[in-house]
């Protein structure tokens, strides 16, 4: 578990973050969202022990970061950090890069070699192991960077805009790797500007603008900002009764028939009401084929939180 306790960080006259306070439980995937200059990267650097808080403290499990050198080393060994850029040595081969970083974490040679083989298979980089990093595409570099961050099997993964600048195919690959890691119980903290990615990956979202503006699941954020969200369903059966059926619910604001067997439902509040929709449909022998978010609902929350409040840094 990570605890950030009333942490502020000042650079000269610039206040980067102020009294941020939250904790992250093991196994959570937390996405930190915020405009440019909101302090996302500073927060990640604070979490990765790269910089000290001006006030407040950070705790990893029972270790206070910056208290003493050994604790910092233990914390650093439990973190896999990935910056926006791959952070790989361009002149060295993929294998040399992985060997170098793995050795810095004190991984046993035999284990490191096996681990590199394992990760290169998972990341699909077996074919480029002896190629210099500078010859690789950005997407492949990012996959190598992922392998590097996972070499020492860290408990926590800190990722600064992991899909920034990637083409859709590479970005998708990175997201699927992240989903896989999430399912394996890794604690992941991601900063991003990509709202669709945040919706897809996050178990919890923190809206940051120097301070924590809101913190919760997407459903909780909808509630907090009192926003409606849109749900698309594809179904069969019901003989046209479905619209009437759904309109009976207090939390349903609007139901639009967009196709013969496709509806867009505007719903108030969080996702806790979804099950009532599912139950109503199944009780009435309507087969539900698909139920998902329609449009980028998080965008409304984002604009509510930060609209007209971009720091412009």
């Amino acid at each position: 578990m990570i605890t950030i306790n009333n942490v502020s960080r000042v650079f000269g006259n610039l206040l980067a973050v102020e009294n941020i306070h939250f904790s992250i439980k093991d196994g959570e995937t937390v996405v930190i969202l915020g405009p440019n200059g909101a302090g996302k990267t500073t927060t990640l650097r604070l979490l990765s022990t790269l910089i000290k808080p001006t006030t407040g403290y950070i705790e990893y499990d029972n270790y206070h970061v910056w208290d003493y050198k050994e604790a910092d080393n233990l914390v650093r060994c439990s973190i896999g950090f990935m910056s926006e850029n791959s952070g790989l040595y361009e002149g060295l081969s993929v294998n040399d890069n992985l060997l170098f970083f793995g050795s810095l974490y004190g991984i046993d040679k035999k284990y490191l070699s096996d681990r590199i083989t394992e990760l290169s298979t998972i990341m699909g980089i077996n074919g480029v192991m002896n190629i210099a990093v500078k010859k690789l595409s950005k997407g492949t570099k990012q996959r190598v960077a992922f392998a590097r961050a996972l070499l020492h099997n860290p408990k926590y993964l800190l990722l600064d805009e992991p899909t920034s600048g990637l083409d859709p195919i590479s970005a998708n690959m990175v997201k699927s790797i992240l989903m896989d890691l999430r399912s394996k119980g890794k604690t992941i903290i991601i900063t991003t500007h990509n709202l669709a990615e945040a919706t897809y990956l996050a178990t919890r979202i923190i809206l940051l603008n120097k301070r924590v503006m809101a913190d919760g699941t997407i459903g909780e954020l909808y509630k907090y900002f009192n926003k409606n969200r849109m749900v698309r369903i594809v179904y069969s059966g019901g003989n046209g009764s479905i619209v009437t059926l759904l309109n009976k619910f207090d939390f349903v604001e609007d139901v639009k028939q967009v196709n013969k067997e496709e509806l867009i439902i505007t719903v108030k509040g969080g996702m806790e009401n979804n099950w009532q929709i599912v139950k109503a449909l199944t009780d009435n022998n309507i087969k539900l084929y698909l139920m998902d978010h329609y449009g980028n609902d998080l965008e409304k929350i984002y604009i509510s939180a930060f609209g007209g409040n971009n720091n412009g840094h």
Binding site: R45, M82, G87, Y89
Partner: protein
């Protein structure tokens, strides 16, 4: 109580061994990076080769044609062997140019290269301590430059000895003066330039700017070197080496104080 002390000592020893291990890992990586860069590789070869060639040529020209600067006149005893010794001693300190310039070039490339390549943030997020990184950066540059410096001197010695053996009647290089320059002054100079280059690189983000600042700081020391070279005195070269030794300790202490991951990162500010 005894167990606690023993545990503490074991932990301390473990930390030192891990630190040395990490330092060597960083040093090996840096060496690989430097040698994989074509331009650095070329400058490592051509600069000392050029100095060796020019130095040999000057010594031979002065000795053969008996044309020496006025300050080298030895009261009418300008025999060929005297001239060879004088011109060799006059040229030797110029070898120190390679150990003063090359480390600045390599150390700025090493640390600012980490910044430009965006690897610095990742390197600093690993368990390697500030000291591990500093030592890991100093070691390969110092050893590489020193190795090339000694090799250049060996080549110079062989050339001079082969060509002057007939006139000298013996193999006279290396003599005490040259050994002091190569094995005391040279390493001290190489260390000073390496640490200075790293110190500047930790505060500056541009390779050219760092090299220019490095050159500005190195120039007064070169001035001192020219003064020593004119005097050709063993005592003076030892005094010069002592000054370098004090400067080395001072700069190393400063670098340990200011080489902090947080400062490096904030000044990098990406």
């Amino acid at each position: 109580m005894e167990m606690t002390w023993r545990k503490y000592i074991y932990q301390l020893l473990g930390a030192i061994i891990m630190g040395i291990d990490r330092m060597l890992i960083i040093a090996r990586k840096d060496l690989k990076e430097i040698l994989s860069n074509f331009y650095l590789r070329m400058s490592l070869i051509t600069f000392p080769a050029f100095i060796t060639f020019i130095s040999t040529l000057i010594v031979l020209t002065m000795a053969i044609y008996k044309k020496i600067p006025i300050f080298l006149y030895t009261g009418g005893q300008e025999t060929t062997s005297n001239l060879i010794i004088l011109s060799t001693h006059m040229i030797l300190p110029y070898f120190l140019l390679s150990v003063s310039i090359m480390p600045v070039v390599l150390s700025t490339y090493s640390l600012i290269g980490e910044k430009n390549g965006n690897t610095i943030e990742i390197l600093l997020s690993t368990p390697a301590s500030d000291t591990d990184i500093l030592f890991g950066k100093i070691l390969p540059i110092f050893l590489l430059v020193l190795g090339i410096f000694i090799l250049s001197f060996c080549m110079f010695t062989v050339f001079i000895d082969v060509v002057t053996m007939r006139d000298m009647g013996e193999i006279y290089l290396p003599d005490t003066f040259s050994l002091v320059v190569i094995f005391i002054t040279g390493p001290l100079y190489a260390f000073l330039s390496t640490v200075l280059g790293l110190l500047i690189s930790s505060r500056v983000n541009d390779i050219k700017a760092a090299q220019q600042i490095g050159s500005v700081v190195i120039v007064p020391i070169i001035g001192l070197l020219v003064f020593v070279q004119y005097s050709l005195s063993f005592q003076l070269i030892m005094m010069f080496s002592s000054i370098l030794f004090v400067l080395d300790i001072f700069l190393f202490y400063i670098s340990l104080m200011v080489f902090k991951r947080e400062d490096i990162l904030i000044r990098w500010n990406k």
